[in-house]
Symmetry: C2
Subunit: 254 residues, 2 copies
Amino acid sequence: MLALTPLENFPNILPGNDLAGNIIASLTNTNITLNNDDILVLAQKIISKAEGRQINLELVKPSQQAIEVGGLCEKDPRIIELVLQESTSVLRVRPGTIIVEHRLGFVCANAGIDHSNVTPENSANENFVLLLPENPGKSAYLLRTKLEAFFGVRIGIMIIDSHGRAWRLGVVGTSIGFTGLPGLVDMRGKPDLFGGKLRITQIAVADELAAAASLMMGQANEGKPVIHVRGFPYPLRNGKLEELIRPHEQDMFR
Amino acid sequence: MLALTPLENFPNILPGNDLAGNIIASLTNTNITLNNDDILVLAQKIISKAEGRQINLELVKPSQQAIEVGGLCEKDPRIIELVLQESTSVLRVRPGTIIVEHRLGFVCANAGIDHSNVTPENSANENFVLLLPENPGKSAYLLRTKLEAFFGVRIGIMIIDSHGRAWRLGVVGTSIGFTGLPGLVDMRGKPDLFGGKLRITQIAVADELAAAASLMMGQANEGKPVIHVRGFPYPLRNGKLEELIRPHEQDMFR
């Protein structure tokens, strides 16, 4: 059985907060002790907030390019300035939408920059936005070492965001960085049920888990940004987000 | 808690088999009684097999178009003939790959036609392939009415397949039809944690659940095509796959 449990009473995170301490307290509130091979899935937002990735738009000076692109997609040019700074290329610009390749390698809307659920101090005005963590894989790793030391176990940690899809509506939880678990599981060459060779191939298990955890986070005012996972059906290993990124030369839809 | 449990000892399905009966037996083997609001997620393969969607390639005559496209993507023109019959348009053809819009509305590789795990009788030669179910939403609905009558409960049923993504590697479990659950959950206009309006928006909860269930199915010789889900965090309703299909006029990547 795969069991996904949201941690209870997770506090609102402020810059500089000790996330590991908050998670340990919340695990205790939820009556969970971490076991070997457990995984924690975290919403990007709490990492970004703890790392102080809030940006006051009043301090952002949009470039000429940002003003032009902002006009095309009908968005605040200061936000577009940040989107461009966080991106390595722009795939599409349409009214209401900008799709980019984020500097972390994945393709997403708006470079993952978030304008909702910003800290209460800031929400009095609408001038704060939240960037993705500087290095989600590293953030996950640092958190993992603290939690593994505290509980004396071997775990995985993943950070997720909500991404749209090219041909389907609605967002789904998607991995933006992880440590201690596989990204892809390679089935190529394994026998199928009747001894034939399997044609497919590689399963994006980290993204499947990201979607599962996202289901339990909600997106509105529920505030369940940490999901405990027990029963992940593949052996843990030190995978990397890069496993999940399609190389440009294989990209048919750029 | 969201709990996903694979049904034990699910038999190999043959054309004409009584899937509802097999599921009831397997639930019993797994010591699960269906409750209200439970969901069963089924691999496409067992529906297709029960419905006799196996095709003997020796009986397929490829059209001139199929021969040409097969040459471009370096695939058996008889399989391409079936891909074209199952599709409404072709998005991309590259060596090793054909991406189409399936007649059911979604974009996928190879029109979902499967060449592995075909029934043992057929696997002696390599000449059988498996098409997607004729109408997965209807198949799910018919199965649901039987199981709801047997257990006296209100449940959801979803059929999934493994789909690739435009910019990420690896396949993820994706819904191809369902009954009795929501496809999208609309968060637009709901207050965020601090009373601001949420910008995102619609969550593809059926696809998040499809990915979660896929994680527990495996893809090789494990044979766990039915996953029982308890604790789905959204109210059940009669959603439709069409909710999840991006309309052509919003498609930026065709």
